[in-house]
Symmetry: C2
Subunit: 141 residues, 2 copies
């Protein structure tokens, strides 16, 4: 995929929570998974191993810092981390707060949905996710 | 989940490719995805952020070293990296070589299957995966 065709090189309608020289973090809009953030590498690279060792470590540091904030604010059953890039081969990481009452638990976010989460619970989690977003913004500012 | 109940603390029938003081790497038996390895942290911890900064970095170094070997030997369209733990909350990472002709591409490994891969191609990839296993074994020996 060329840069010109890449939706992560040419983003539209992203809710950017934080941006550094190397990467940006966006809040992913999914009403069923309020605690969903994505770390997108700014440069159009494909694989983790395309990064320098220093960049690999700083990316891992960022993932863990975001994860810690998500655990504190969202109190999930588990955090999921994933780097696929089969749809868009531009390095990006999914960070997803998972709960026993989420649509797919214990299967993956990308598996078939098997239930609906209570709307009041989702609303509380959305508030917690917005607190996460503010803390992530402060962390990288 | 207690250690006593954890299938990663009490493994059976794992094909261990390499083992260090901190983690082991296994070859995952999936005939449809020959290039599938898993890095399992030895200690029963749940999240990446439960590790020390040094351990987070050495785990990322290991993932990238395995990824580089997989890219060289398996020549995949993309490598997938994932840490979920919703089934078994004991830190482990999936490393999966993905191809345009694999059963789920471009959807996730955990999504619905949509095609069958040619058996001769799978056999070639299985040979390449066994070469990967040997190189991974040598890397951590």
């Amino acid at each position: 995929m060329k840069k010109e065709e890449c939706p992560l090189c040419n983003p539209c309608d992203e809710l950017v929570v934080a941006k550094t020289e190397k990467f940006r973090i966006i809040k992913v809009p999914d009403v069923n998974f309020p605690g969903y953030f994505r770390l997108i590498w700014n440069k159009h690279v494909k694989e983790m191993s395309d990064l320098s060792v220093q960049d690999r470590h700083s990316l891992m540091d960022a993932l863990c810092s975001i994860e810690e904030i998500m655990i504190e604010e969202l109190k999930p059953t588990k955090i999921n981390l994933a780097e696929f890039g089969t749809m868009v081969p531009h390095l990006h990481w999914h960070l997803i707060a998972r709960y026993e009452d989420d649509p797919n638990f214990p299967d993956s976010y990308w598996s078939a949905k098997k239930r609906t989460t209570d709307k009041a619970i989702l609303a509380d989690r959305e508030k917690a996710a917005q607190k996460c977003a503010i803390r992530i913004a402060n962390l990288f500012s």
